[in-house]
Symmetry: C2
Subunit: 354 residues, 2 copies
């Protein structure tokens, strides 16, 4: 029944570009929403067409589940890289932040800050990549916003995503739950994402293309929860700052130390070679599809089994254990039998990695 | 018990600037969070220190309330303007989007995209303004993210905020609920925000400083809900695109027409003068602390009373009514007794207004 605003012509996804009017909130903004975002993200909540999206409370709340909210700004450069792009990364990253809180991700919001002149064809590619990631994960994008800044005041596209989820009833999964004796696992190889983005940015060609590991980890988390229940203490995805920084955060929050074994750390040979060439330490390189799981020793066998049985955990390794240490040090037994401190990332190893 | 990472020196809020390391996820990022964001936003959820924040479900869910999620990217230029700044605007804007969905705002997330070199003193001013707006509104910022982009790849600071809320049980407030015969109110003067930002941006000096109306409207919404209950059909804040575009959106969603009376539109004399000088139409200028309320005729007296009794509704006016019109036209009786079409904003009248 409602008439649509009459657009003079449809958006030109071949040669068209974003201009300031697409962010002005008038007819051009409405057209961008109607011809790009609505068909790509197509869901009943977005179709409400309101300033916000309304959704039913999840059933877990009746069993004592709590709500979770997580947000991320994504500014990865370049926007397209081997194995992924800003679009799917922005979906995976926020789904993972919700999942690492021991929660089932429910819904996402997305806000876009687009630089004037950005090609509509690239924007469509990004939006379709987001839509695909969201559909595959079963976590719909239910509300959004688009702003446009003048040429030279942005860098292509920035995407901020926020996720809402519900915790697994009865579980407390967070950095404070790590205890001496707990076992530390990582779900697969380290450093793939950071090296993939860097090699694309610096136009480095290695013999093998290194692909980002960007992936949504929530189904792996569900499997770990099912396998270990309250034996699962901490989940964390080692993104910016890498494994080293994430372990230091957990050590700080739990008031424990962590010992890891260098020989157990999974690093793909081509990533290791690239890191050597570039002077990077894979311990500090960002990952986007890996998690650290810390569990009670009694649950370790079940956690390991659940990791190895999931496509995203096939390369999982038991890498160390939590120890009593009032100083909260993270230490590593090196390949040569010595021990060294693993400190926080200092300065910036790889900027704009996510 | 937990040791903190040892920073060499505290952040220099007088002369310091943001550098790339503040967005790298390592020690400098942790310091920025610990010395700026945590003390300013101080709340139990942020103190969880996790990738996401966990919160208890609101009591309204037991009475049939639904959850609401709304998001906004804020890129206003200049960042500081008469009556407000990017910080409080980013809090008010998202609180209002949640409230306009007929919901009580509960929590906010905030993500920052900061340009390398941005003064820490200005960032602190912004963060304190956000914190004040959030405290005054009673809607805490419970999780966040910070990214840094190279100089020339951003424009100072962009802030994306997302809000979660819970609907008033038993009410359905959205654009589709407008019906022929319904009465249209606006809560106060039009155009203040847009003209305030523009005059600051263009360094225009008028006799009187025009201040932005930026404000959180959720307590006004609560009063309207209490006064009118199911007689309240639509709430919307006329931001980008102004009153004209917002009324067209409502007309389109409801499949009705809307008639407004130019003589009833509240515009401050200094805003009207500035608009005349600048060739702007106040109908299309953005507001950040005003709402449109559409209600059943039986509820109109109570809605008017509730508006006038609230500090943010003192300048409220009844401006028109919803009519049957299959074409969904918005029309205005002019001061001179004629009638003209009020169309959607076309092109961009005022870029980067919010």
């Amino acid at each position: 029944m409602a008439t649509r605003p009459r657009y003079i012509r449809p958006l030109d996804f071949k040669a068209g570009r974003i201009d300031m009017s697409h962010g002005a909130g008038g007819r051009a903004s409405a057209q961008l929403i109607e011809e790009l975002f609505m068909p790509a993200f197509a869901n009943e909540w977005l179709a409400q067409g309101h300033d916000g999206a309304t959704f039913a409370p999840p059933p877990e709340l009746a069993q004592g589940g709590q709500l979770v909210m997580a947000t991320d700004a994504h500014v990865v450069s370049p926007i397209f890289f081997p194995g992924g792009d800003l679009g799917c990364l922005s979906v995976h990253g926020t789904i993972n932040d919700v999942a690492m809180s021991g929660a089932r991700p429910l819904y996402l919001s997305a806000s876009f800050i687009i630089e004037e002149g950005y090609p509509l064809s690239d924007l469509r590619r990004l939006v379709q990549s987001m839509a695909q990631a969201s559909h595959e994960a079963g976590v719909p994008i239910i509300t959004g916003d688009t702003k446009v800044v003048e040429q030279g005041k942005g860098d292509g596209v920035f995407i901020s995503t926020t996720g809402v989820g519900v915790t697994y009833p009865g579980l407390r999964i967070d950095g404070r739950q790590a205890q001496p004796g707990d076992v530390v696992f990582v779900s697969g190889t380290l450093g793939d994402h950071g090296v993939a983005v860097l090699s694309q940015r610096e136009s480095l060609a290695f013999e093998t293309t290194i692909c980002s590991d960007t992936a949504a980890l929530h189904t792996l988390v569900a499997d770990l929860v099912a396998a270990a229940g309250p034996g699962l203490h901490v989940l964390r995805d080692p993104t910016r700052g890498g494994l080293a920084t994430t372990l230091n955060e957990i050590a700080q929050q739990s008031g424990c130390g962590i010992h890891i074994d260098e020989r157990a750390l999974p690093v793909a040979p081509e990533v290791e070679a690239a890191c050597e060439l570039l002077g990077l330490d894979p311990l500090y390189v960002a990952n986007e599809g890996k998690l650290i799981a810390i569990c009670a020793p009694q649950a370790a066998a079940r956690v390991q089994e659940a990791l190895l049985a999931h496509p995203l955990g096939r390369g999982a390794q038991r890498i160390g254990e939590v120890v009593a240490d009032a100083q909260c040090f993270v230490q590593m037994r090196t390949r040569f039998g010595g021990t060294r401190m693993v400190d926080w990332l200092t300065g910036e190893q790889l900027p704009r990695i996510c």
